[in-house]
């Protein structure tokens, strides 16, 4: 039995990747002796030494750029950004360089790096610590964006992200880091970086979620089952490229779609899911699409954070409305 929390699964995936491939490096603020502020890199310094577990100065744009240089030289750097709010400083490097090196040089120079960070709210963290920046990264051609929502998926997706020949952004939901344990064997395989996971089958409505919203979607589905409403719950997991086939197939069966996102509504990734269905699944829809999302407001400080965050109640209500549509 190797039960792991999500953060332990991340840690185990990093350790395994480092053990299997000497090109894998871990870098970032406090990733060494401290083992990362969430302990995602705990024990790696002791095991792999300071040549492979590198504490950096405090400079996020620089960290991303540094990883690009390392990756161009054949390393597989996994750079940690300590909190989600500090990822925005990396967008310039990720968009103008990491995502483009391959195409700009017509394949001569590539960028097999991972940029990983905790993301999302729900843990009463300080300002700028509870961001959901996935839509911005998902808009960038040349990047992959992954958001695991369980220990096992975190493990498999992280292995795949590190092995991927292109830059991958991995957003780990902070609220799920220690939310539950599940069996994650050491030899679990990498998971594909272009597949959504159907976590629960149902024929009345499709609920699409990712990251910290997945458990909320599942508990909404649970509650709705008692009311006789069967929800199919899809964890998108990889947001770019998007596994629209799985979503479309589900909506074709259910005819109803509720999308859940923690990020502010407007121009969030939920819009892309809705758009794909409006383009290629429209005729299956028996009710308007619903998005349950963060408001278009700044994420409040902890006192009002729970009011802001979508939860099972709001999701269930949206599904009910969808069902009620005649």
């Amino acid at each position: 039995m190797t039960e792991r929390t999500l953060v332990q699964a991340v840690n185990a995936a990093l350790a395994r990747a480092m053990a299997e491939d000497p090109a894998v490096l871990v870098l970032g603020e406090d990733v060494g002796t401290d083992g990362g502020v969430f302990r995602a890199t705990e024990g790696l310094l002791a095991r792999f030494g300071p040549q492979r577990v590198i504490d950096t100065p405090l400079a996020e744009a620089g960290i991303a750029g540094l990883a690009i240089g390392l990756a161009a030289q054949g390393f597989r750097p996994v750079a940690e950004i300590q909190f989600s709010g500090f990822m925005y400083a990396t967008i310039d490097q990720m968009l103008n360089h990491a995502s483009r090196l391959r195409t700009r040089s017509r394949g001569r120079i590539t960028c097999p790096m991972v940029l990983r960070a905790p993301s999302g709210g729900g843990v009463r963290a300080p300002e700028h610590h509870s961001e959901s920046p996935e839509a911005m990264f998902a808009h960038v051609p040349g990047l992959r964006v992954v958001v695991p929502s369980s220990p096992a998926r975190a493990y498999g997706l992280m292995l795949a992200a590190i092995a991927d020949p292109d830059p991958v952004v991995v957003l780990e939901p902070t609220r799920l880091y220690r939310a539950l344990r599940e069996e994650v064997p050491d030899d679990a395989p990498p998971l594909p970086l272009d597949r959504a996971f159907v976590l629960r089958e149902g024929s009345d409505a499709t609920v699409v979620a990712w990251g910290g919203m997945v458990p909320e979607a599942l508990s909404a589905a649970e509650a709705l089952a008692d009311e006789g409403i069967g929800c199919e719950v899809i964890d998108l997991a990889t947001l770019k490229p998007l596994d629209e086939a799985t979503v479309l197939a589900s909506v074709a069966r259910t005819g109803r779609l509720v999308i859940v996102q923690e990020a502010p509504l407007t121009a969030g990734l939920g819009a892309e899911v809705a758009a794909r269905v409006a383009e290629r699944g429209l005729m299956s829809l028996r009710a308007p699409v619903r998005r349950v999302a963060g408001w278009d407001t700044v994420m409040p400080l902890p006192r009002l954070e729970q009011a802001y965050l979508p939860d099972a109640g709001r999701i269930a209500a949206a599904v009910r409305e969808t069902m009620a549509f005649a």
């Binding site: 060494g32 504490d55 709010g85 500090f86 400080l301 006192r303 954070e305």
Partner: protein
């Protein structure tokens, strides 16, 4: 053939030695023991506040909090030198300065308790709120200082940051702006030797942090950051220069973080207690008390009264803080824009029917 293109010298200032004895001639303000006693009181008050905040966090009544234990001379030295009309652009460990400038303990607790109203302080209305993204406040300070310069005002801006912040590009850009426009701006690097678990030497190979100023052609000074007299003296000099059009200064105040990084941190994971103990011998509060006591300017009775007053003040702040009624959810919507756009009004109506 090589010739010399430029030369730089970084000076280090100290007025009060770690053993509480004076070194060198003192600045005018320090001739008055009452002025020193006032700074002493402010440091003790800061420490009392920090202790209360940590206690509230430990008992689940406050969010993550960053204590300034051991760094009180920096906060108080800055606050003592600033004028009311100057503007403070703090990082997140500047409660010492904020308290001196009139932010109330209740407001600070509200902010750290996760309530935006804590940043709507009644006191220094132009001071910026706490800045969590390290170093990102530095360009704001440059903008505020440029505003003052454009209006020809004799005011100045003080931008405080940690040692870790000096690695951030934002800070370098702001230092450059400050040099180009001779801005009325004082950058203070509150060098407590650690950026969470990353020690000063792993943050930069620069021998001093003061020399970050050289890159932008602004004045530089290193001070003993556990010597409140030196901090205030350096600040007064730099602020006078700033206000009179002489340009910007970067002051590195060398101190030590005696506390964990924040209440979310356990510093024993990455540094020895032995290292910390050494630094307890240099801490600023006892240092000034030793001098004041030796000078006959501070008595046991005064000390007891001060501690009692601080206890009472922080207790009252706690009570007021805990009694503050919560904000309405509507507040989340109402301050996003000056006027609520239609789409946000719809969301608000859904959220708070």
């Amino acid at each position: 053939m090589d010739s010399v293109a430029a030369r730089f010298e970084i000076l280090r200032r100290r007025h009060l030695a770690p053993d509480g004895t004076a070194c060198g001639p003192w600045p005018a303000f320090a001739q008055d023991p009452a002025a020193l006693a006032a700074m002493y009181r402010a440091m003790v008050r800061t420490r009392a506040f920090d202790q209360k905040a940590v206690a509230l966090q430990r008992t689940g009544r406050l969010g993550t909090f960053a204590s300034s234990l051991g760094q009180e001379a920096v906060g108080v030295g800055i606050g003592a030198a600033m004028r009311a009309e100057d503007v403070l652009v703090p990082s997140f460990r500047e409660q010492g300065t904020q308290l001196l400038r009139g932010v109330t303990m209740r407001e600070l607790l509200l902010y750290w308790g996760g309530d935006e109203r804590g940043s709507d302080f009644a006191g220094p209305r132009q001071d910026f709120p706490v800045c969590v993204p390290v170093g990102s406040q530095a360009p704001h300070a440059a903008g505020i200082a440029l505003a003052m310069r454009l209006r020809g005002e004799a005011r100045a801006v003080v931008c405080v940051m940690g040692d870790g912040a000096t690695s951030k590009g934002d800070v370098a850009e702001a230092i450059d702006f400050a040099g180009v426009w001779s801005l009325p701006l004082v950058f203070v690097v509150d060098n407590n030797q650690w950026a969470i678990s990353v020690p000063r030497r792993a943050q930069t190979a620069a021998e001093t942090l003061a020399q970050k100023a050289v890159a932008g052609g602004i004045a530089a000074l290193q001070v003993d950051g556990n010597d409140v007299i030196a901090v205030r003296d350096a600040m007064e000099e730099a602020l006078a220069r700033a206000r009179s059009g002489g340009g910007a200064t970067l002051i590195e105040a060398v101190t030590y973080r005696l506390a964990d990084h924040t209440t979310a941190d356990d510093a024993r994971r990455y540094r020895d207690d032995a290292e910390v103990s050494v630094h307890w011998h240099e801490e600023p509060v006892a240092r000034l008390r030793t001098w004041l006591t030796a000078a006959g300017a501070w008595s046991k009775a005064e000390e007891d009264a001060l501690l009692a007053a601080c206890r009472e003040e922080v207790q009252q702040a706690e009570t007021d803080y805990l009694a503050t009624p919560p904000q309405a959810v509507a507040s989340v919507f109402d301050f996003t824009y000056a006027a609520l756009p239609a789409e946000l009004a719809r969301q608000k109506a859904e959220a708070v029917p």
